[in-house]
Symmetry: C2
């Protein structure tokens, strides 16, 4: 038997008991007469002690211990003289009676402490050591708890978890698929699912009216910092529902998970905002509502006053940053640089400082009178002491840049605390997006999203104006879920494919199974999918999803720990009837 | 709103209420003055009625309804005159006040009833209709419940569910991998996991001492009737454990799941049997212990009596089938044919009938005296009225053939009832298996299984005799799980790879990440993996796993519903830098 207790559970009530613990040596402190060892496992740290009463043989073994050695210890639980209030086991220590070294360890390549000296690549290469660190371990345990809470809620609501296939069919619409050559069907390929979208819709046709699945999905994209080629969705679908049914079911889920895990109460119903309002007020379709600082349109007020930059532009807008009128030249230059970074790509930034004494200073004093500027301030609801930050240009680009600037200013002013949560449904998305490059419409969500009934007549006249029965759930500026009411009528689905540029034959070839299923009594249905990795990180107030994934890949899609992808054997290639192209 | 209730919940207490239901038209019976409709959803069937009080307009709509139309109905709950005790809603019917056809349906390609006229391929092609049938729907719902029960138990035992990657590295040991070409790393491939084996071991090194995952795994094998290229495992691992710890934890899990779902009580601990005993007594490493009929070794008794077939053979054994001495010539011929089928491949079958009156008749009367045969009967514990069935040949092959025959006779005698369960741990497996064809040892479980400590010295002298710390959980003749205590010592792992014919370089190349991890304090650990699909089907007493998988593939690895695998575009191939070989 390796242990009677874990390293996280012994306390004063155990004093006098003989116990056995196993774990890793976190630290050894040799104070001459006394040697202290911090023994660590998943559950905590317990102090072991060898002193003058410890046998010489045992002391000799203790003196050989190094960091990360795996040991088993038997001993008596003693009350500590120097209690450590910071840890649950801080009242006791174990007087070592017997010690077995289960395994030795080389010196780890980085320190296994809450703060580590290991860089990102090194931590990934030795991920099995990185996970021993409390922040990573806690992130994975948090993820487990979130998963359990999600399943508990959905099970109680009569949802059935159903696994859909991972070896499916490649469809060129959407992102790039990972494909899998089939040995048994030479020349043919499976694809890994980007989402179980069509399968969950088939399950609705099949009558399984409340489905969910926590499921791995795959996307062969050029990776950004926070994207992974494989990621996990909480995928859900319901039949016989309208948009409000889906929204209320899943705000219930999110509220229940936050309550279970963080003891945070969300007021139901969550706030809702149209896509247009989100863009106009926050320059984002996923606004962070932990703070205000809304964008105001200054186009009418600021145009036509002789300032060429403004006069020839589509849109002028700004935000009013509270109590920042005292920003220095250097700070303002920093903000200009911030918005000029390629990620934002703005040309410049106009400021107006509203001094405490009514003084107004701006970077456009030459073109606008103090009264002009006061008018702006008044329109923006700004007060003395505030700083107006103003940008101009193409409307959507400028709104988005202002949105980024708003987030940055919110961050600087501490208006985005990690333990505060602002959930929001964004609704009334456009159904379609026009792409200038390929000169065609794309589905804003996906081709199965239904249009608002009263907009269907616009398919011929003005497709861009069609609104979708689609909704995104946003928390603190992160999109954690998105979904829609689906098309369940075969003719409407054909109409949608047509506006996306599919011929009837192409639609049949790629989605024939779904179109065929719609012949046999498809019910009205809709659903949502949550990014599980993202949900976990947002709950912890953490930006990156990486530590919520046990074994993530780097930005080149590579697992640096196992060194994958890698070359395969000539025999494997031959069996698969494929050849590499040099 | 599409419904106030489901089609499974209305009963006498709802009489007088106005309700709205939505669902599928199961059946329409037009009795002239009255039209009855059975409306079906996932939850049940409710009877709707239109009669002389129903408006003409409404009756006209009702008369257009066909099978599998999707409708929404509003009406009053009435008490039925003819109650149907067979269904929970059988006391009531809905007087139709308002009916909306939500979607029409073509005539389905097979009848959607508990018993269907649809063949296997047709059912698979229209799986979304097949799932509407109660047996398939119930199988999927059962699977959901099993999954929930498993997670509940493991969570309560402090296990953490951790997702391991699906895009990993191809290793030639074991079955064939499915591989995934990497576009970002041309010429290189990921592999889909056959199991998360090495990752869960790394999680043990990482200190996550109780891990589980319900996870999709992949094997590119030539498919047998009941194999799928993708399948689901309940994958588990623990650190600081010995074999008994793993066994008791997971028999607890299985007992808890059977109790939760079937209300079946298993006595703990489960029976244990060595691999050798299982083979000798039941001719199988996964014996069905719902009944006895053990195999007895007759080699010493039956050899050397002048019957050439027996005299020149390695092994003679038999089973005693209770109360079958009255088997006819034809029945006995049938059994001979049964054992001669290619799946079993025996040469023949000897019978001895023990008549009620002490008469003995056998197919080998010429060679053996009645006293000889009585000696056999006595050795086999047979009684008057029993039928002895005896086979001879190579020992293991003959035992396996007798094992098959035993199962067949158990089946015929009704000794294998679907609602009776006999769990068993098979232990003391050999570590290695010699393969004549390739002239090398293979790991009986996998290369990470640890040898019994006291057998380690046999690595040099007699590897075949080394026993493994491995265990299989068998229920009713089906292996539902298997696992082992793992090697956690780097040197022993190298020794194991060596006996399997790996050079040190090959071991480093394929499993370097694991061998490297063993340098940094690997704890003792072990685990188990259950076949989730199989566990579900065994609980239901069903042989095939196929209906426990929502969208299974056929024996050619093809999804006939979506028609996958399929060819991909020239552009996709070009991006992946691969070419098809004609």
């Amino acid at each position: 038997m390796y242990r009677t207790h874990t390293c996280g559970e012994l306390c004063a009530t155990h004093i006098g008991q003989t116990v056995t613990l196993s774990g890793w040596v976190q630290r050894v402190r040799n104070l001459g007469g006394m040697i202290f060892i911090d023994l660590r496992d998943r559950y905590g740290v317990t102090q072991l002690v060898a002193n003058e009463n410890t046998s010489n043989d045992l002391t000799e073994v203790v003196e050989t211990l190094g960091r990360e050695y795996v040991i088993k210890v038997e001993g008596e639980v003693l009350e500590r003289t120097n209690k450590n209030k910071k840890i649950p086991t801080g009242e006791v220590e174990i007087d070592i009676k017997c010690l077995t070294i289960l395994n030795t360890s080389e010196v780890p390549p980085f320190t296994i402490e809450d703060e580590t000296d290991g860089g990102e690549e090194l931590r990934m290469k030795y991920r099995y050591l990185d996970i021993r660190r409390k922040p990573v371990k806690n992130a994975l345990m948090h993820r487990h708890k979130v998963g359990q809470a999600v399943r508990r809620y959905l099970d109680a609501q009569d949802f059935i978890e159903i696994e859909t296939p991972s070896l499916i069919k490649s469809t060129p619409e959407g992102a790039r698929d990972f494909v899998v050559p089939s040995r048994m069907n030479p020349g043919e390929f499976y694809a890994l699912p980007q989402s179980p979208q069509t399968f969950k819709q088939l399950l609705m046709v099949a009558g399984m009216d409340k489905y969910f699945q926590i499921v791995k999905c795959f996307r062969d994209e050029d990776l950004r910092a926070d994207r992974q080629p494989e990621f996990t969705q909480i995928d859900c679908e319901m039949a016989f529902v309208e948009q409000d049914d889906v929204i209320s079911t899943f705000e219930g889920m999110v509220a229940s998970v936050f309550k279970d895990i963080l003891n945070v109460d969300f007021a139901a119903p969550f706030q809702r905002m149209s896509y247009n309002d989100a863009m106009s007020l926050y320059g984002s379709d996923k606004p962070d509502l932990r703070f205000g600082m809304e964008i105001r349109d200054l186009t009418d007020l600021a145009k036509g006053k002789g300032f060429v930059v403004f006069d020839k532009t589509e849109f002028i807008g700004g935000i009013s940053v509270p109590s920042c009128a005292n920003y220095s030249r250097k700070q303002l230059d920093g903000l200009t640089k911030f918005v000029q970074r390629p990620q934002i790509g703005a040309k410049g930034l106009v400021y107006v400082k509203l001094g405490e004494n009514g003084d107004i200073k701006s970077s456009v004093d030459k073109f606008f009178t103090p009264d002009d500027l006061k008018q702006w301030a008044s329109h923006m609801g700004a007060e003395d002491g505030d700083l107006l930050l103003i940008m101009a240009g193409d409307r959507i680009q400028t709104l988005e840049a202002l949105g980024q600037l708003r987030l940055e200013m919110g961050e600087r002013l501490g208006l985005r605390p990690a333990d505060s949560f602002a959930p929001l449904w964004v609704v009334d998305f456009p159904l379609l997006e026009w792409d200038e490059e390929t000169n065609r419409f794309y589905a804003k969500h996906h081709p199965f999203t239904s249009p608002v009934q009263s907009d269907i007549h616009l398919f011929e006249s003005d497709p861009a104006a069609i609104r979708a029965n689609a909704y995104d759930l946003v928390i603190n500026g992160a999109e954690i879920g998105g979904g829609s009411i689906r098309i369940f009528d075969r003719e409407l689905q054909y109409k949608m494919f047509k506006v996306l540029g599919f011929t009837e034959a192409q639609a049949e070839d790629q989605f024939g199974f779904l179109l065929n299923a719609f012949k046999y009594g498809a019910p009205p249905h809709g659903g949502i999918a949550f990014g599980f990795d993202r949900l976990c990180s947002v709950m912890d107030g953490v930006e990156s999803i990486r530590d919520y994934i046990a074994f993530p890949k780097n930005n080149a899609g590579r697992d640096v720990m196992i060194n994958s992808p890698s070359s395969i054997s000539v025999e494997q290639l031959a069996e698969l009837k494929i050849k590499l192209v040099e």
